[in-house]
């Protein structure tokens, strides 16, 4: 199960993900979420309600952040749960995306 909520204000948008981030989430992320958030200069991805990210999900996160930043957007990832953080650390997302993405 994967769902999301988008909170927008003037120059910032917060996407709150809910559920598992895996291969099935990619369509939602690319077709529904990206077009909306890429209108904003500052984007926060809130992982507070994400309990599992698999290897495809990791690829998805990296691609999403890369694409948004290539488009000149600032992206932050926040509220990562401990069990998901372990997977991030194993796959070294910090090293890949840079410390500045995490808060």
């Amino acid at each position: 199960m994967f769902a999301y909520r988008i909170d927008q204000n003037e120059d910032e948008v917060v996407v709150v993900f809910e559920g598992d981030l895996d291969i099935d989430s990619s369509e939602v992320l690319e077709e529904d979420i990206l077009p909306v958030v890429s209108e904003y200069p500052n984007i926060r991805l809130n992982f507070g309600e994400v309990y599992f990210v698999d290897s495809s999900g990791i690829g998805l996160i990296i691609r999403t952040v890369d694409e948004l930043r290539e488009g000149g957007r600032s992206v932050k990832i926040q509220n990562v749960r401990p069990e998901v953080l372990e997977v991030f650390e194993l796959l070294q997302i910090r090293e890949i995306l840079g410390e500045e993405v995490f808060e």
Binding site: D20, S55, G59, L60, R63, E86, L91
Partner: protein, 376 residues
């Protein structure tokens, strides 16, 4: 398009046959009893035919002497070659409907109904049968292809290495028919071996394609450059150049060990892979943690590597994340549990050791690979 009409009334048989012939259905057969129908289907005496007789539809009367249509329908639907063969009941009595549908009938035609109704129902039943046939044969073809692909994939895996100073065994547990996990080892020269385990992100066919293409590079690469830092850089370069143009994020995690039996030294890289576990006699497990990021994500990477030495005998356990990952639970806890269990059974012969660990990998949703290197 072949239709079997079953009715004990000759008049009914002649009527239905005529209506269907006039509508263009040419291959029409008739049976005047349920028993005769079963015989046409190769089912008399309770036999199960190896191949289905070529019917696309049965029109079946319900009230017949001896065996009735409902019983015949039940028998036909229970017979594996005919589970998808549509059966339409011919009836004049609605009281039979509940039982008739319960027996597996897909539709009914009331005797005396107008011709167009008969033809419409026959047409839609036959269309459904054709579609089911096409889908089934595609599915069967796909399953065969996958099984073949699985065998092909297994043929590239190396057989166990059993030599005086070193033994390597592995277990390969596929969740789908094919997987993106792959292990590889080779003797580089008299004193050195290279051992690699990779896990392509994602599952199934696409991951398997990627892992097979990476596999084809390894022999040349490992024998030419062998040093882990350089193998890591080269492998990353190759994966980026092969798949960098894809819109999907394609990457893999890998762990590679270069074992020097003379110097009793192991150099390794671990690119985003779960830590290898090194068990030496009477010591706590040593974790072969990450030395760098997964391969194929960034064009430029550092290519760092680690090194350690060993004395006496020991085992090095490599595995893919499927063995330790349970969705929504801590993967570090999973690794800890694996360490505990593996530590307890570490004195088993190497092949038994991997077999015992493979039991942990059964029934997981992910692919699992386990490689164990026994150093003496």
């Amino acid at each position: 398009m072949s239709i079997l009409i079953v009715d004990d009334s000759m008049m009914n048989l002649a009527y239905f046959k005529q209506v269907l012939s006039e509508a263009g259905y040419s291959a029409i057969e008739t049976a005047s009893s349920a028993e005769q129908a079963l015989e046409r289907l190769g089912m008399s005496g309770g036999r199960v035919p190896r191949k289905a007789a070529a019917f696309d539809l049965i029109l079946l009367d319900i009230v017949m002497p001896d065996m009735d249509g409902i019983e015949a329908c039940r028998l036909i639907k229970e017979c594996p070659p005919y589970t998808d063969l549509p059966i339409i009941f011919l009836t004049g009595d609605r009281r039979h409907f509940k039982e008739a549908f319960g027996a597996g009938g897909m539709d009914f035609i009331e005797k005396g109904a107008p011709e167009y109704e008969l033809l419409a129902r026959v047409q839609s039943a036959i269309r459904l049968k054709k579609e089911t046939d096409i889908r089934k044969s595609r599915e069967i073809g796909l399953v065969k292809e996958l099984q073949l692909a699985k065998r092909v994939q297994k043929t590239v895996l190396p057989p166990p290495m059993i030599e005086p100073g070193i033994e390597i065994h592995a277990q390969y547990i596929q969740s789908d028919e094919v997987s993106g996990d792959m292990f590889y080892w080779t003797r580089i020269d008299d004193k050195r071996c290279g051992v690699m385990l990779i896990d392509v992100a994602g599952h199934g066919l696409s991951s398997a394609l990627i892992s097979m293409s990476v596999r084809s590079l390894l022999d040349g690469m490992v024998k030419r450059i062998s040093d882990p830092s350089e193998v890591c850089l080269e492998l990353n370069k190759q994966v980026c150049s092969l798949f960098g143009g894809s819109r999907d994020s394609i990457y893999l995690t890998a762990i590679y060990l270069l074992i020097d039996q003379e110097a009793r030294e192991i150099r390794y890289f671990n690119a985003g892979h779960p830590p290898g576990l090194f068990f030496q006699t009477d010591r706590k497990a040593h974790y072969l943690e990450n030395t760098g990021v997964p391969l194929g994500i960034r064009k430029t990477i550092e290519g760092a590597s680690g090194v350690f030495h060993y004395e006496g005998s020991g085992k090095i356990l490599l595995y893919t994340d499927g063995l330790v990952e349970t969705p929504r639970q801590s993967i570090r806890a999973g690794i800890g549990q694996l360490e505990q269990y593996a530590s307890r059974i570490r004195y088993l012969p190497n092949d038994r050791f991997t077999e015992k660990l493979a039991v942990l990998g059964q029934g997981k949703s992910d692919d699992v690979c386990i490689v164990s290197i026994q150093l003496n």
